[in-house]
Symmetry: C2
Subunit: 761 residues, 2 copies
Amino acid sequence: MKEYLKHHEWQIIEEGFDPHVNKISESVFSIGNGRMGQRANFEEDYSGETLRGSYVAGVYYPDKTRVGWWKNGYPEYFAKVLNAPNWIGLHISIDNQKLDLAKCKVENFKRVLDMKVGLLSRSFAATLPDGKKVQVESKRFCSMANGELGAIRYAITPLNFSAKTTLSIYVDADVVNKDSNYDEKFWEEVHKEATPGKAIVTAQTKKTLFHVTTGMVYTIESEGKKVSIDRTNVEQREKFAGNVVQFELAEGKETVIYKYGAVLSSENHPKDKLVAACHKVLDEALVNGFDALLDAHIKVWEHKWEECDITIEGDVAAQQGIRFNIFQLTQTYTGEDERLNIGPKGFTGEKYGGSTYWDTEAYCLPFYLSTAEQKVARNLLIYRYKHLPKAIENAQKLGFKNGAAFYPFVTMNGEECHNEWEITFEEIHRTSAMAYAIRDYVHYTGDENYLCEYGLEVLIGISRFWAQRVNWSADKNKYVILGVTGPNEYENNVNNNWYTNYLGAWTLRFTLYAIEYVRKADGPRLTEIVSNTSFNEKDETAKWKDIVEKMYYPEDPKRGVILQQDGFLDKELLRVSDLKKEERPLNQKWSWDRILRSCFIKQADVLQGLYLFEDDFDIETVRKNFDFYEPMTVHESSLSPCVHVILASKLGYKKQAYDFYLRTARLDLDDYNNDTEEGCHITSMAGTWMSVVKGFGGMKVKDGKLHFNPFIPDQWKSYSFRLEFRGRVLKLKISKDGVETKLESGSPLTIVLKGEEVALK
Amino acid sequence: MKEYLKHHEWQIIEEGFDPHVNKISESVFSIGNGRMGQRANFEEDYSGETLRGSYVAGVYYPDKTRVGWWKNGYPEYFAKVLNAPNWIGLHISIDNQKLDLAKCKVENFKRVLDMKVGLLSRSFAATLPDGKKVQVESKRFCSMANGELGAIRYAITPLNFSAKTTLSIYVDADVVNKDSNYDEKFWEEVHKEATPGKAIVTAQTKKTLFHVTTGMVYTIESEGKKVSIDRTNVEQREKFAGNVVQFELAEGKETVIYKYGAVLSSENHPKDKLVAACHKVLDEALVNGFDALLDAHIKVWEHKWEECDITIEGDVAAQQGIRFNIFQLTQTYTGEDERLNIGPKGFTGEKYGGSTYWDTEAYCLPFYLSTAEQKVARNLLIYRYKHLPKAIENAQKLGFKNGAAFYPFVTMNGEECHNEWEITFEEIHRTSAMAYAIRDYVHYTGDENYLCEYGLEVLIGISRFWAQRVNWSADKNKYVILGVTGPNEYENNVNNNWYTNYLGAWTLRFTLYAIEYVRKADGPRLTEIVSNTSFNEKDETAKWKDIVEKMYYPEDPKRGVILQQDGFLDKELLRVSDLKKEERPLNQKWSWDRILRSCFIKQADVLQGLYLFEDDFDIETVRKNFDFYEPMTVHESSLSPCVHVILASKLGYKKQAYDFYLRTARLDLDDYNNDTEEGCHITSMAGTWMSVVKGFGGMKVKDGKLHFNPFIPDQWKSYSFRLEFRGRVLKLKISKDGVETKLESGSPLTIVLKGEEVALK
């Protein structure tokens, strides 16, 4: 855990230049706009430790898998988030010395991410090896108003000299991925052009053949006027195009480089129109200029914050934490493009390749349901609807038939691209995360028509999977589910993981409900679905009902707890507090076999089920299971603490709830898990939002009504959040004195506050 | 399954040239001498499908592992059997046309492996593209009389022309491994020299820095006289040295190239003496000449066959099968060097990297115990004794302490070099294969003093492992062993695999026995061992006794069978006969998850235990378990059928026993598993020997006495085998009429034949 960042309500602030934390800061200060983004790399050269990364949404590379022994059913590739062409770079030479912070004396270094306006700034004074000292101020944003545009204002002031300066300003597609299985480069050049003032490169990805066109234009000004340029040369190399410009820097005078970058992909333009479209974006940017572009960008952020801000009074660290989480989520996924999803690292790193995990449905959806227009959450659902044929293919590859749908664990285009058998083949609960998301969406929005439009087809596919995946145990006289990995990935190939069994049976029940709903709401549509899916309603639903009725659920009647899986009680039941400090984190200190046979739990498993199906279990059941499992839980997944905040809140375990909250909210800011340098934990950030709203706020939807059961951590004066709910906008402020509720817009609404109905107007 | 090889009692014969089976033949016709060997590659160039492979015992490369997600505790490398420098090659150009069977019309092709004398021969008539036709006859052997020497007699007769011929005769270390994780070459040049008539290359392996010196000398003769050479040039390239010789081939006249190869490794010579030693081997070979060298080689084979031949009358396929197995085993491991072991592919291929698996102890040891001098089996045991410190290190890496010994699953030098967690970390029964081998050796030879010398130290280490690996289940009130893979590798991470639990507890019992034995036999030695191993006898043995007493064994009282593991009865209990043909073999047709959760068994698991501990279980227990498990067994490991022959024989299931026998005996000859092209299944060949002797012959040792309970398959007229046992040589011939026993040498011996004592003189 590191705590080098200043606490501030709206800003992330790093003061002083410490190369050892640079990669962490590069992650934390990342900026993006849903379409593109990048790590907070320096614009100028930097020869110190850095992970350069620019990313374009939806553009990936299917890297040849690297496995030991091939197992039948493995996918052929592991999709990689691509380090995309670099549009931010500037090589600066002053009197033939490179500006490179690794080789300068650096003073007054300050890096600020202003989350309110989505602006990354940096300032420093650098003394070059020969004693020349320059002051640099840079500002950068990826425009939320135009997803294909980014802009940089880079100002240099010589403090003790005047000198000739050479600037190489460029776009560069000759970039590498750190996460490359065989050290390949993934981009090939398609087109490049450079004229004085402008440069464009189109590169294509190998295999997937995505085209990405990256361009830049620039102006160099001083005191509001263009500076006089000694010479401009165009510069072209393999996958690289730019200008080399020479001009004078005058002592004490600020010279400003405005660089506008355009990043366009063939996902959004025909390949043969990309270059023309890029010219257009660049030319317009030049006309508008930095300040106007920034204004438009800020306006979007103002609107976003209006929708989703959470305020916390009396605890700046907690306030900064929640805003950081909301900021990153918002700039990762805007919900405008139903082909996109929420990558586990967003635009902050390459790790975990692939874009979509069950994280989206289980952790992110509630955030978007409550803070964005309905279509955002709906687009997340439709993303999976569109992948249904691939999910059916995926199931077929593993021997399932008759339209069974097995959604992949990690995907880019609906195909599985994860290669560890214990996850790929066995962590099957993820396929029902798609079913649960449909239920969640319908419950929250009331848009039950979604079941007719898209939902039921997906549910039938998933239910067919479960009906084939269970088997009858003659020994138990029950249906069982063998050989699975539950959410707790510190167990593999277990039998009857309770969470999986419960979720599987629940999916069947929910699908049976959805069939009846569609029958009543839109009979002809049901007929159509039955025909499209070759659904043998009578036989298939009879089997499903039988499974629902006779599903096996492991439990320990003596302790009155649910059992995570068969045989769990054979383990030595230790507590995390029995572990020595030097044994943590287990995944770095213990061998895999030892982790597997221990009782220690990576993330909520039984408790994940009790959280998702909270109305199915009484509070005493929740308490007994929480008291049994939480002490064995090491929370070595970023997705773990938030579920525990919610349950601890429900149980009145205020201190624990607050501790878990801080852990999830400041996970990346304080580098809790010592891995933020690889990127931020984007999907778990939605869990932070849930921690406040569903945890402390006790929000849930039941029978179409919003319920709240809020409490306030002792450390806070007040907190408030805003929800969109079925056409209304609702604000809650919880303080020591009580709860203020306000209906900001929309028709009257009755909510349930601490068990009492309250009518809001 | 393919059946293209002719049946013959002593020979393997391929007639006609079929490029599609060439790689299979290259495996089957492999030759070796315990120190070196190679696939039956052609001497001359061949541009068709081939897997070139020469191998040097004990020389390996630790290839960087290739895994998906790194798991803590994984070894850093996977040892690779190295394709070693090639000493057999000849490039032959006749009138500027290469002799290359892929580009010639080939007639009368015949490849013969004469197992009686260990000689590989090949003959063919080849028509070159321009119509020139040559007859070639080649003979090759790796000398059993000198493990560093090989020889080739390569005779060419022009059938319809006379012409100038260019021969490039060489040694070449610029060879590649097929099994290379990152397409690296593993050899670097250290030294080379070439003079007219001789060439030597010393190459070293990267990382491991083994030096291998490979040299050759040659003569070219016709009608017993040296042919006149037009020109001899020396030829040197990177890692390559040879001569280029020009001479005339005269129509109808045989010209013979004698090439002698020497292969010496730094395992047997100081590095700076290798080249000199190589010269010596080569010079002596030239003096002796091909015929004398072959004579010396044949003499060794005569002696070997005397020791270990099995004859079968009335069934040529079965006779050929058993001889092939014995031949391959004998040329793979001679038992002279206690640093060596029996690689799963011997000198026939690269697959499975590493040299040593538990196969050695569980399958190969009995063969060497019965057919070779005692020191051969003893050397196999000492090999593991020498690895004890590494086994202790290996255990430490996984969190075990206090001298616990965990032998690796695959090893070259005692370190683990296998990288699949379900095997590396979980298939823990292999560590007790070392304990069982000690018991087997002591039982068979009566050499109980081995316990004092080496055995007890190993046993204490292994017992310490088990004592730490079990855990107390409060739920079961028993010791349990969680998270293991049993011999049936179609199950992973199961709890309480019966075989593992039984073997673990047995090891503790046997170690307790061994302690008492050593105390009585050599008290001071026990004191020494106690001190060397920091053995806390009182506490440690108390714990061991407790575990022995309270170990948990899963069973099904209803069916009266042992359970392979906890939860086995939750599976759908199908039979192999329920599977469709196109679903087999499962490991190629089913996804891994489906295999894991099915009941289907790769190789004997419970039955492996009933075979190893046959005297602990009554015949009814064996029958019930065989009848329950065998029908679920797919025998997709080459190690499976032999155990089933033995048990089926015991149960009087004659037809099944014979069918299993043919499957194991002709596995490679008939390419049962469609994988012989990668190399032969060397370790399972010992299982074939066991099938006859322990299966049909019903041989076992009990209370120091040899027992036999033979029967004869209906298809056979008679079979006979020879055993060495405690200084005697014993021969049994079983025919339809009865059993003939003969004591060929040694003092009188009482054996037990079908339950009756028989005194042999």
